[in-house]
């Protein structure tokens, strides 16, 4: 359990949010030209690192907006919260 600072509503508890998986994964421009392996890489393969990970979250029980957070997976500390389309402020 941790608090997330929704960029629209302010600080709320995690149970109001839904996690949306890894952020900044770009859809290939020409999926038909990819091999099956490359397509599977895009569809299924996700990082699962110990450390800062960039994730998409949705304030499902609040404003229902999507945004990105940079979360340290080892201690659930949130390093940055930023809106969709923006670049992360931490590395």
């Amino acid at each position: 359990m941790f608090l997330i600072n929704c960029p629209f509503c302010g600080e709320r508890e995690q149970s109001e949010f839904k996690a949306g998986g890894e952020a900044h994964i770009e859809r290939p421009k020409q999926p038909t030209e990819l091999s099956d392996d490359e397509w599977a890489e895009f569809l299924f393969m996700r990082k699962n690192i110990k450390g800062v990970q960039f994730e998409r979250w949705n304030h499902a029980h609040g404003c229902r907006k999507w945004f990105n957070i940079a979360r340290d997976t080892s201690n659930d500390q949130i390093k940055a919260v930023y809106k969709m389309g923006e670049k992360p402020t931490v590395k």
Binding site: F8, C9, R12, S15, E16, H61, G62, C63, R64
Partner: protein, 187 residues
């Protein structure tokens, strides 16, 4: 108002807490992002939509709640006629917003149930089932929040000191009301 089975049939009173449904109340969800949308709403209804997060604005007849950066709920302060499903406010907005493609207006009168809670134990009741921190909310009249109570999505509006409007989806309302009664009996 459509013909429906009323889920909350009676007013409930406890020490420091009264709960009842107010109906029929017109409720509309308006959505839009353009600046023209905001000014068109302002001109049509003679009220300004709240831009600041978690706030509301009120006129004599209507209240507008901030739900998200491009979504608001407008509801009538008092009860409306129960024998019709058309409302002047909706007709005006349909003409000035929808027809001009500025945004969307949806009638959610029958979708949401408005429960009014009064008394000094209101926030003690919410505390038993919500992860939201009501400390700032309770001191600021006009505050709005969307959160969960007993895993049910609700919209809560601070109407007055120790008086709140709670909007909940109709299909959840009976369960939430019985849960709140159960919880209130143990406060």
């Amino acid at each position: 108002m459509l013909n429906y089975n009323q889920t909350i049939k009676e007013k409930k009173s406890y020490q420091g807490l009264q709960m009842n449904e107010v109906k029929p109340v017109m409720k509309l969800i308006v959505r839009g992002k353009k600046r023209e949308f905001l000014s068109a709403i302002g001109k049509s209804l003679n009220m300004v939509l709240p831009i600041k997060a978690n706030t509301s604005t009120q006129t004599e007849k209507l209240t507008a709640l901030w739900l998200s950066p491009d979504e608001w709920m407008i509801f009538s302060n008092g009860v409306v006629k129960g024998n019709t499903n058309t409302y002047d406010t909706e007709i005006i907005l349909n003409k000035n917003i929808c027809k001009l493609n500025l945004g969307a207006v949806v009638d959610v009168t029958d979708q949401y149930v408005r429960i009014v809670l009064k008394g000094d134990k209101v926030y003690d009741l919410f505390q038993t089932g919500s992860p939201f921190n009501f400390n700032e909310f309770r001191n600021k009249i006009g505050s709005v929040t969307q959160t969960i109570i007993a895993k049910v999505d609700v919209i809560i509006h601070n109407q007055n000191q120790n008086e709140v409007n709670l909007f909940v989806r109709r299909s959840f309302s009976e369960h939430l009301f019985s849960w709140m009664n159960d919880s209130a009996s143990r406060l």
